[in-house]
Symmetry: C2
Subunit: 349 residues, 2 copies
């Protein structure tokens, strides 16, 4: 599939200084979902503990203070993204050491490591690659309207808002499908998903005219290797700022089925609180009607983020209410597993 | 409004070698709609004639063979855009002469004149500017959802497909509104409109996450100077490749009213002929429902391109049929003037 799947089957060290696990979304995602072998987490404030000490759903990977203390590895992955996407100079010794030890370095920052004079020279000297996944492929172009013709089934996670869990739901569905023996693949569209998957195009960073084309190119590539593709959606179709990306992903992916993601209790647009979210049932029609002229698609299941609800019983009730609202099976895939919504998504496969 | 409105009130020479007027959309647009004074067209194949000899709706501007034969001017504008957006080396002597004569040069090409070593050095030497309008402003960012709060009324042209006349309709509406004494402004979103207007951001070229933000920034800027803004729409909401830009412009502009543009007889997506256009009446609901969660907006009028119909009577009948289909007044603004649809658009202003 990708020619340089940096984190696939590699031994990976994940940098997450001072932010693990609560503010290290990428690091946690790699630990939970990546196919590669995470051998250590770098967090100088939590050195001596293990990832599993902090979150029970994470593997028993050691946390060490610096690259000097890390075991043998092939890749250093920057697993945190500061606001603004800058490079924290306190990370420089770890990146330097990694390169000197022959590791590739993967980052999803706005600051491109390959444009850093010291890192570029050092990487050339040691024959390793610096992969800035936020830099879009310059070959991306306009869509041809061809995603419906690929052999794989395409499932897209769509949302009632941004930051409701569309990436995580897609990753959970991939895992659940694989457990059933289905050859499922993940198609990332944002830098966190790309770092986790080790390949992909940041669809939110491409030229706007190429939004659908960027998704189409990834689906074309991934469909050769998998029977079902789970595409990470972004934003929402009612979002004042990000709806363009949402719409481009929908028409570029031409999904056979959609999973509507929501956060229980959310009523206004995150970060744009003067904008009310429409009632949940309306979203089903909105997404299906927007998809239809390009490709018929149905919301076949729902995923609701209940992390703000303490009691499991209440969370289950919230999921049931959500299922009623959208007229399709729904669950919280993180809390209760994704298997419960897999049947309608796989469509008897 | 813009700090360097290159073609406003300037004396402008428009380059259109070999393509005037049929394949010189930008040159024709500047001649018809620009506020600046076009003093000559460059077309070596038609030198010695005048623009009005080729199209009756164009002014009596002389066509000359090269910049050496052109009258005094402040600006040379590249008025044709070859497929691929390249620079034709046969234009080099004209650009060189223009710079040496102290003219600014404005272009909407993918090839940036400012990145051409010879032109850059020559421009520095002669103190003129090279304005590549296709290069987006690096300061553009995400939308804040603020366009509805500007003092000006905002009218957006939307379409049943791409290439149905959304830019031209917006420009005709600006002219018609000004004839009624309304202070109307044009907000361009593509390179042709930008070259005609002398300012603007190519919304189809910005980072996809900034699509709505790019429109919002222009509306914020232009609303200080005008009472009514006519925003150039792009693509269509059912387009397999370009719907992202359409959606971003709609939510970024937060229009008070929309004008639905269509080409009479078109039934499939231009360039994507395996995709049928939905029935025309459906578009009214599609655009209004897509707009509603961000800002309530109505399709108040229609514009139909009847250039493929010879007889005026048939064209009028097509416009009447179109008005019935969308349930709003409609005309062909190029053929019959835009005044007939201005009342519902201006809303009693």
């Amino acid at each position: 599939m990708p020619d340089t799947p940096a984190t696939h089957s590699d031994r990976v060290v994940v940098l997450a200084h001072g932010q693990f696990p609560g503010r290290a979304k990428t690091a946690v995602g790699v630990l939970k979902y990546s196919d590669s072998d995470v051998v250590a987490v770098l967090d100088r404030e939590r050195a001596g503990t293990a990832a599993a000490d902090h979150r029970s759903d994470l593997p028993d990977v050691p946390i060490v203070a610096s690259m000097d203390n890390a075991p043998a590895a092939d890749t250093l992955l920057i697993g945190i993204a500061p606001i603004g996407g800058g490079f924290d100079e306190s990370w420089r010794p770890d990146v330097r050491t990694a390169i000197e030890r022959g590791c590739d370095v993967v980052a999803g920052l706005h600051y491109f490591l390959a444009a850093d004079d010291e890192f570029a020279a050092l990487a050339a000297e040691h024959g390793v690659s610096l992969r800035d996944v936020r830099r879009p492929d310059p070959d991306i172009g306009v869509a041809g309207g061809r995603s419906a013709t690929v052999d794989a089934d395409v499932v897209l996670t769509v949302g009632t808002d941004c930051s409701v869990g569309k990436m995580t739901v897609a990753l959970e569905l991939v895992d659940a499908a694989r457990e059933r023996g289905v050859d499922a693949g993940f198609v990332p569209t944002g830098q966190t998903g790309i770092v986790i998957a080790g390949w992909g195009t940041p669809v939110d960073r491409v030229v706007s005219d190429f939004t659908a084309g960027a998704v189409e190119a990834m689906i074309s590539e991934a469909s050769d290797d998998h029977d079902v593709l789970f595409v990470e959606g972004q934003g929402s179709i009612v979002h004042p700022a990000y709806s363009a990306v949402t719409c481009g992903i929908l028409h570029g992916a031409m999904p056979d089925a959609m999973v509507l993601c929501h956060e229980a209790g959310r009523e206004v647009v995150h970060g744009y609180e003067s904008f009310d979210l429409p009632p949940v049932p309306e979203y089903v029609d909105r997404y299906e009607q927007l998809a239809a002229p390009v490709h018929d698609s149905e919301v076949v299941a729902g995923a609701v983020n209940t992390s703000g609800i303490d009691a499991d019983g209440e969370a289950r009730a919230a999921a049931d209410d959500y299922a009623d609202a959208i007229g399709a099976p729904a669950t919280d895939p993180i809390r209760f597993g994704a298997d419960a919504i897999l049947d309608p998504i796989l469509g008897g496969r």
